[in-house]
């Protein structure tokens, strides 16, 4: 059951990202990405992280991607922009991707080998996660809140039209 669900969600996730690479239409891209993020939320649920799964869906699929679509609507291009056709960029990107894939794969293999055996049950219930956030990670948590305020004010200042500029 769990394995089936994993393959289903994984396929959905990878497939929609592939679709995003192949499609030219920005709005379709954004919607495919929403699908991919939502299925990632399901995968987080499979990994015993219900709180992060909900956060992923609420913030990533429900807020960040809405912002993207909002900007796409504002920009509202008539025809899609074709993907890069130059051969060398495609080759470069594929090469880079494969290189990184191998490197990361080796790194992950090492990591997995080193931590094997001490796995205990760790269900990311909201209570546990909240306790950790407000004790061990209190400092980063506060810094994040400052970061968000700065981003909020920054975004408003950036996009706001000046009065004399019309």
């Amino acid at each position: 059951m769990g394995t089936l669900l994993f393959f289903l969600l994984g396929l959905l996730c990878v497939g929609s990202v592939l679709g995003m690479i192949l499609s030219r239409n920005q709005a379709h891209n954004a919607l495919l990405l929403v699908l991919s993020f939502a299925s990632l939320g399901g995968l987080f649920g499979l990994l015993d992280a219900p709180f992060i799964a909900a956060v992923q869906i609420i913030i990533y699929a429900g807020a960040i991607m809405v912002l993207f679509i909002f900007v796409i609507m504002m920009v509202n291009l008539k025809e899609g922009i074709r993907p890069e056709r130059k051969v060398w960029t495609i080759r470069l990107s594929a090469g880079l991707a494969v290189f990184l894939l191998i490197e990361l794969g080796l790194a992950v293999k090492g990591t997995l080998a080193s931590i094997r055996g001490e796995a205990g049950p760790a269900i990311g219930s909201p209570t546990e996660l909240g306790r950790l956030l407000f004790t061990d990670y209190l400092y980063p948590f506060e810094i994040t809140s400052i970061l968000i305020i700065a981003a909020l004010v920054g975004a408003i200042v950036l996009v706001k039209k000046k009065k004399d500029e019309r």
Partner: protein, 100 residues
């Protein structure tokens, strides 16, 4: 029980796809989306690491990544919007300010 290595494999695949999308696409918004894909691949890796090691720190870090990604998306999209207002386009080749 699904082996954690499956999730790692998926996250690596997603990361590679994100890189390819970033290089192939030519409009700023989709390139930005490709960055988000890579961030999510990293999130998946962190959460599977949390599962494998039995500690919740990985999940806390993902929480931070998501909040920072929200801030980053807001700022990034504001910049894209600003660029669009000035240049009336979001194709990357049109921006050659540094070329003189």
């Amino acid at each position: 029980m699904i082996p954690v290595s499956y999730f790692f494999g998926l996250s690596l695949l997603l990361f590679a796809l994100g890189i390819i999308a970033f290089f192939i696409k030519r409009d700023l918004i989709t390139m930005f989306m490709a960055v988000e894909v890579m961030l999510n691949a990293a999130n998946l890796a962190f959460i599977s690491l949390a599962k494998a090691s039995g500690s919740l720190s990985g999940q806390v870090i993902v929480f931070f990544i998501i909040t920072v990604a929200a801030a980053e998306a807001a700022i990034g999209l504001a910049i894209i919007l600003l660029v669009f207002r000035q240049k009336k386009t979001i194709k990357v080749e049109e921006f050659r300010l540094m070329k003189g």
